[in-house]
């Protein structure tokens, strides 16, 4: 059983089980309230699932891509929850959870997943389809792009507003079951910090 957290879009938390699927899931769509809601969503999921922290085998977390500030809240929460629970963290590309949900509900074939990257840009990942275990096969991305090159692509598109921690957690369970490797420790910011080196002190006298 896993606690699953994703804050790459809104804030989504779930408790999932390999056999029973999503046992509890609570989400807040607001993309600017991650720090406010994360604790309550975790607590509610544990209560609704009727599971003690010791009953969990790990914590799954979406590593993005997603806007920095919110994305970090989920990753920080997952890491410290795992430390407190003395359980491992497993990391998943958030777009993979969207694609997994698509294929699990009957979709098939090539798919382009996009999410809002703000500043009139999109995060995107391209999938060839689902493999024999139903896991999404990502062939390109995640990447960052202006909308135009994406609009001109001849491929089925899924523009997601939210990422379900339930889908992310069940994907993590499936990945673990089939011995797949998880994502790395580096958050998928896909943007450098906004900072430019100043040329030097400005003149103050005329």
């Amino acid at each position: 059983m896993l606690l699953s957290i994703d804050t790459s879009a809104g804030t989504s938390v779930a408790v999932v089980d390999r056999d029973r699927g999503i046992i509890a899931e609570h989400s807040e769509a607001d993309t600017r309230r991650h720090a406010e809601v994360i604790g309550e969503l975790i607590a509610r999921c544990l209560t609704d699932a009727g599971v003690a922290v010791t009953g969990l085998s790990g914590v799954a977390v979406g590593m993005g891509p997603g806007p920095f500030t919110g994305l970090r809240v989920g990753i920080a929460a997952a890491q410290s929850f795992a430390l407190g629970a003395a359980r491992p963290v497993v990391r998943v590309v958030s777009h993979d959870a969207i694609a997994y949900g698509h294929y699990a509900s009957g979709g098939s074939g090539p798919l382009l997943v996009t999410t809002d990257a703000r500043r009139r840009e999109l995060y995107w990942s391209e999938y060839a389809g689902a493999d024999e275990q139903g896991l999404p096969v990502r062939v390109e991305g995640p990447g960052l792009s202006s909308p135009d090159p994406i609009a001109s692509r001849d491929i089925r598109r899924l523009d997601a507003q939210e990422v379900s921690a339930g889908a992310l957690g069940t994907l993590a369970e499936a990945m673990h079951l089939h011995g797949r490797s998880f994502a790395g420790e580096e958050p998928l910011y896909l943007r450098s910090p906004d900072v430019t080196l100043a040329a030097g002190p400005k003149r103050v006298s005329g």
Partner: protein, 353 residues
């Protein structure tokens, strides 16, 4: 340990991520058990100041290792804790949110109460860890790269009042900016201090911000360092324009004197005006030799008891957050719950969020 004893000596872990220091401290009541700090200062050096996004990314990387090291140092386990405390403001939003998110999840995973505390009051709270009797009321002068605040602390957990603060740059920021225009590296404080050692503090009379009678009416306890920075820049430019060499040591010493003078003058005035014979210094600028010396000299002359905690408790750290959390627990305060957010402008009257 008996239940009653535990209530007065709670074991609290504190998390601080309001600026560029990832701090985790552990205290038992007023006893310091661990104070571990990871700083991203070096990553900001080439930009001449703290870059919020770089600081926030560094917090996420550093937090778990810092927590683990603090627990090892304190030789306690997470299960032993009575409460978790975290800085919820004031500070850089994105940086604060890393600590807030982590602290909430940690508290839920451990089923421990969580206290969201004020960063500035935390600086005052650090004083309880020095092992000496702390008396209130006290005036507190907190000076760092992000803050320049003069507080009246009547009671650490009940009654803290903001007397005044900077209306533009923080004092530490002024040190960074002046260091830069003198061609000295970041952070500017230690560099200015070093350069000033061989300079004449009376060589140049730089302005003391908000010290004229007309300013004192409205801004008696407020500070301003933007005009001072500009005055230094203008003075340096005039020398350079005239093809003269800039006497770096004299400029550094005179600038430092102007900062130290205005800080200590206003702090001592507050003590006198309010009849409070105690002054506590906190914040990273306390490391400045001249600020300390001037505070010692003027407090001694005015009969004010001066307190300066060890430097590791003056800069941003998690131990002060844990200490304030422990005071709140000992005072019987209910925990903050899980619904609070990061508040970049949290007022000092909100000791606990």
């Amino acid at each position: 340990m008996t239940r009653e004893h535990r209530a007065h000596e709670p074991l609290v872990l504190g998390i601080e991520t309001s600026c560029d220091e990832t701090g985790v401290g552990i205290v038992r009541g007023t006893t310091l058990l661990a104070n571990v700090i990871a700083s991203s200062m070096d990553e900001h050096a080439r930009y001449g100041g703290v870059v919020p996004e770089i600081a926030a990314r560094a917090h996420l990387e550093a937090l778990t290792p810092t927590l683990t090291t603090a627990l090892e140092q304190a030789d306690v386990t997470l299960a032993d804790l009575d409460a978790v405390a975290v800085t919820s403001g004031p500070g850089l939003s994105g940086a604060l949110m890393v600590g807030v998110g982590a602290a909430k999840a940690l508290a839920v995973s451990l089923d421990k109460p969580l206290y969201a505390v004020n960063h500035l009051v935390g600086h005052v709270g650090a004083d309880v860890l020095t092992g000496e009797d702390v008396e209130h009321p006290t005036v507190a002068l907190l000076v760092s790269g992000g803050h320049t605040s003069l507080l009246l602390v009547r009671d650490l957990v009940n009654d803290v009042e903001m007397l005044g603060e900077t209306i533009d740059d923080a004092a530490g920021e002024a040190f960074d900016k002046v260091a830069r225009l003198l061609g000295l590296p970041y952070p500017g404080g230690p560099e200015i201090d070093r350069a000033a050692a061989s300079g004449d503090p009376t060589a140049i009379r730089f302005p003391r911000g908000l010290s004229l009678p007309k300013d004192m009416e409205k801004h008696r306890y407020d500070f301003s360092f933007s005009g001072l920075k500009t005055a230094v820049a203008r003075w340096v430019e005039q020398r350079r324009d005239a093809g003269e060499e800039v006497p770096v040591a004299d400029v550094a010493a005179s600038f430092r004197e102007a900062v130290a003078d205005v800080l200590i003058t206003k702090a001592v005035a507050a003590c006198r005006d309010l009849g409070v014979p105690r002054l506590l210094l906190g914040g990273g600028v306390v490391a400045n030799a001249r600020v300390r010396a001037l505070a010692e000299e003027r407090c001694a002359a005015a009969g004010i008891a001066l307190r300066i905690p060890p430097f590791s408790l003056c800069t941003d750290n998690g131990a002060m957050i844990a200490a304030l959390g422990a005071q709140l627990v000992a005072a019987g305060r209910p925990p903050s719950g899980l619904g609070f957010g990061a508040d970049s402008t949290l007022p000092v009257t909100s000791i606990q969020a």
